[in-house]
């Protein structure tokens, strides 16, 4: 059965960011290759004479993929809440990927501000996708605020390090079996995405790994295959790990050649 994100199924477990591509054409090629379930977008100041945002919006509309606006770069609850309101009006969706950044080196979430902003926005009708850590207590608080999806980090944003805390992510999955979980941030190569889906995560959000690849469109396609492989692998019920070898070729009937 399809996992529902606030009642909506996604066409793919791949969420793709739209930032940092070498050109709009390369972004378009990457989205067409990845066929993501959503693309993430943001808001920035617009100068009347340049209208760069209008051109970007035309491109996104042409691609026809649902958008998930973010509050990237916000460091306070007030900034994040105001940005979410502006995003709701501009993008015409009540979905918001809520980021309240707490630390400049790791760009890790300020989980205290995150919980507060999530509560304010949920009460105001937003469907909040909180960028969080794998902390179980914070996750509980976010769900209690009205969040129906959690987006824990794999590793610091843009680091490409993969799943830094597999144990923590596994625990989060086990604690909240019915909550859609998305690994957001830090994935670098397709195998990281496959691993997240194998752990039972419902989706991954990728940006830098595709945008900064030598060939973004091919990397986008690779990630799209990886999430599919990971999802199928999870559904097929993987074997259990063991510490010692166990021969896969039957021993019985082997010729005596000693």
């Amino acid at each position: 059965m399809d996992v529902l994100f606030y009642g909506q199924a996604l066409s793919s477990p791949l969420m793709l960011g739209t930032a940092q591509y070498p050109s709009p054409e390369i972004l378009r090629d990457a989205v067409l290759a990845a066929r993501p379930g959503v693309v993430t977008v943001s808001l920035r100041r617009e100068a009347a004479r340049e209208k760069t945002g209008q051109a970007f919006w035309s491109l996104i509309q042409e691609l026809g993929v649902p958008v998930l606006p973010n509050t990237a770069g916000c460091h306070t609850v007030k900034e994040a809440v105001t940005t979410a309101h502006m995003a709701r009006e501009v993008f015409g969706t009540d979905w918001v990927k809520l980021e309240v950044i707490g630390e400049q080196d790791t760009l890790q979430p300020d989980v205290f501000g995150l919980v507060e902003a999530a509560r304010i926005l949920s009460e105001d009708g937003f469907k909040v996708f909180p960028y969080t850590t794998e902390d179980l207590v914070v996750a509980e608080r976010l769900l209690a605020c009205g969040c129906e999806v959690l987006m824990p980090w794999g590793a610091p944003i843009g680091s490409g390090r993969g799943l830094n805390n597999v144990f923590g992510l596994r625990a989060l999955r086990a604690h909240f079996p019915g909550v859609p979980l998305v690994v957001d941030a830090g994935l670098g190569v397709p195998s990281h995405a496959a691993q997240a889906l194998e752990l039972g995560y419902d989706a991954v959000l990728i940006n830098t790994a595709v945008a900064r690849a030598g060939n973004p469109a091919e990397m986008a396609r690779a990630f799209s295959l990886a999430v599919e492989a990971g999802r199928l692998g999870r559904a097929a019920d993987p074997m259990e790990e063991r510490d010692m070898a166990a021969p896969s070729t039957p021993v019985a009937g082997k010729a005596f050649l000693g």
Binding site: G17, T18, A19, Q20, Y21, L27, T40, V41, S42, L43, R44, R45, E46, A47, A48, R49, K51, T52, G53, Q54, F56, W57, I60, P69, N70, A72, K78, T82, H85, M86, A87, E89, V90, F91, I157, L205, N207, T208
Partner: protein, 65 residues
Amino acid sequence: MLITVNDETHDVAATTLAELLEELGYRGARIATALNGHFVPALQRAATPLADGMRVEVVAPMQGG
């Protein structure tokens, strides 16, 4: 009247937020606005008066992760 828009100061004739956007050439653009740090919905721009020294933010869709 001096109004700061996205950190640039403009000397404008506009007396409301809607008039300001028109005067600066934002007509028809897909944008959102904030006045002194508070979100102002599109429908309220015409009824939002400006005063000297106010700070306006105008944002539009942009690439994001």
